[in-house]
């Protein structure tokens, strides 16, 4: 399931490689929801024949690739409101059923972006807390607490250099203790009940990362 040997460990992962890495870790046959933005790119790297079925919270299983040109249908969009296509075996359903799939624990994995993730798996990804910001939550809170596994895909450091994997989130929370893995350009982190395991690192040593994050990694 892991592709740890497939990438150059001496430098941080690029966006495509990061999406490829997450895609390789999605168990075959999973029902998968991809968050808006970067997580959506994971779909581009799923192996044909993996049997992974994509869910979109606006009411569809079996989401296909983005639609272009004459294939665009205004009635067929994903949660990011991007025109998409349907795959054979796709199904449509209304919003209450769609969120029953999420809240009810039927989705195997979701991949979300984040502003911050805490060592305990708290997720902050909907609101910066800025007083002039217009808050928008969408389906993020339902996904965070509903999917069996919540993977976060993000850069490890913000533009000002501060870590986004933190002892305690300072941004408003989306969900409590819900994230199980964090995929970043600098490393993959598995969050367990007994601490954070640095599964692999990219462009930094485990010790350097531990210093930057002010953490003692648990041995994996």
């Amino acid at each position: 399931m892991s592709t740890q040997t497939a990438f150059d460990r001496t430098r941080p992962l690029g966006k495509d490689d990061l999406a490829r890495l997450v895609a390789a870790d999605i168990p075959p046959g999973s029902y998968l929801n991809l968050g808006i933005g970067q997580p959506t790119r994971v779909a581009d790297f799923l192996e044909p024949g993996s049997g992974v079925v994509l869910h979109t919270e606006n009411g569809m299983l079996g989401v296909g690739p983005q639609a272009y040109g004459d294939d665009i249908d205004p009635d067929l969009i994903n949660a990011g409101k991007i025109p998409v296509t349907e795959t054979p075996g796709a199904a449509y359903f209304h919003h209450a059923d769609s969120f029953a799939m999420m809240r009810g624990g039927h989705l195997d994995v979701c991949v979300l972006g984040a502003f911050q993730v805490s060592f305990d798996g708290d997720l902050a990804n909907w609101h910066t807390g800025a007083s002039n910001a217009i808050p928008a939550v969408g389906g993020a809170m339902d996904l965070a607490i509903g999917a069996k596994e919540v993977f976060v895909l993000m850069t490890l450091f913000s533009k000002d250099g501060s870590p986004k994997l933190v002892p305690k989130c300072t941004y408003p929370l989306t969900g409590v203790a819900c994230v199980s893995r964090v995929y970043t350009d600098c490393g993959v982190f598995v969050l367990t009940d007994h601490g954070v395991v640095a599964r692999e690192t990219y462009g930094m040593s485990r010790d350097d990362l531990a210093d930057r994050l002010r953490i003692r990694f648990r041995e994996g």
Partner: protein, 231 residues
């Protein structure tokens, strides 16, 4: 019993000031643009609007907002690339916002339609949206008490109906339509096709006609604003 009405204005007749209006659609997919246009012509004010978003571009829900008819919007995702009409009204304090996680929004309307007094949801526990809500621990898990959202009227869009109001939707334009249809005192639906009873296979009906009051056939294609980002 559902009635096929003459036009969109008749479909929205009787919506009074202060009404709670459930409006279908996710972005522009499934948004009943022509019914909203009729609501604008009707001029009802101080409306509470329930929708997933807060308008796109300058048409439909955005036009209703721009016309100053909305006092409060209940939604999950107001902020989009093309939600500038809402953004300006919100920042200048001219419209109130109740932000609801998308699944709770759907389930609160489902509860209203199903006669459920309230329900416990795990969504939002430990977040700022839990503030002021009753909580309970059930089998070791924390939940928040969520109340139903009932509409005075629901305005939705479906693809096809028979004259009894048995609705079939199209692709992801279904979204909130079936839930909203159950949750309002009056449900008005705009469709592309109206057929006689028997013209729809009973096995494929999504919204049974018992939930539908007014049907209007809209000929032609709705104007679609540019596609907004994020949802």
């Amino acid at each position: 019993m559902a009635t096929v009405v003459r036009d969109a204005d008749e479909a929205v007749a009787g919506i009074v000031d202060g009404s709670t209006v459930l409006i279908g659609g996710f972005g522009t997919a499934g948004q009943p643009i022509e019914l909203i246009d009729a609501l604008i012509r009707g001029g009802a004010k101080d409306l509470i609007v329930v929708n997933n978003n807060a308008g796109n571009g300058r048409v439909g829900l955005a036009a209703l907002l721009a016309n100053g008819q909305v006092r409060k919007i209940v939604c999950s995702f107001p902020r989009q690339a093309d939600s500038y009409v809402f953004d300006e009204l919100y920042r200048s304090g001219k419209v109130e916002l109740e932000l609801v996680p998308q699944g709770n929004l759907a389930e609160r309307m489902r509860a209203a339609g199903a006669g459920i007094g309230a329900f416990f949801s795990p969504t939002g526990v430990g977040t700022p949206l839990a503030e002021g809500k009753e909580s309970r621990t059930i089998d070791g898990r924390d939940y928040l008490l969520e109340y139903p959202i009932e509409g005075d009227v629901a305005l939705i869009k479906a693809f096809r109906t028979d004259t009894l109001g048995n609705l079939v939707y199209r692709k992801t334009a279904r979204n909130f339509g079936p839930v909203m249809a159950t949750a309002a005192k009056i449900t008005a639906v705009q469709v592309s096709e109206v057929v006689q009873p028997g013209g729809i296979d009973p096995e494929v009906v999504i919204t049974p006609g018992i939930f539908v009051d007014r049907i209007v056939k809209i000929v032609g294609v709705s104007p679609l604003p540019e596609t907004g980002a994020a949802g």
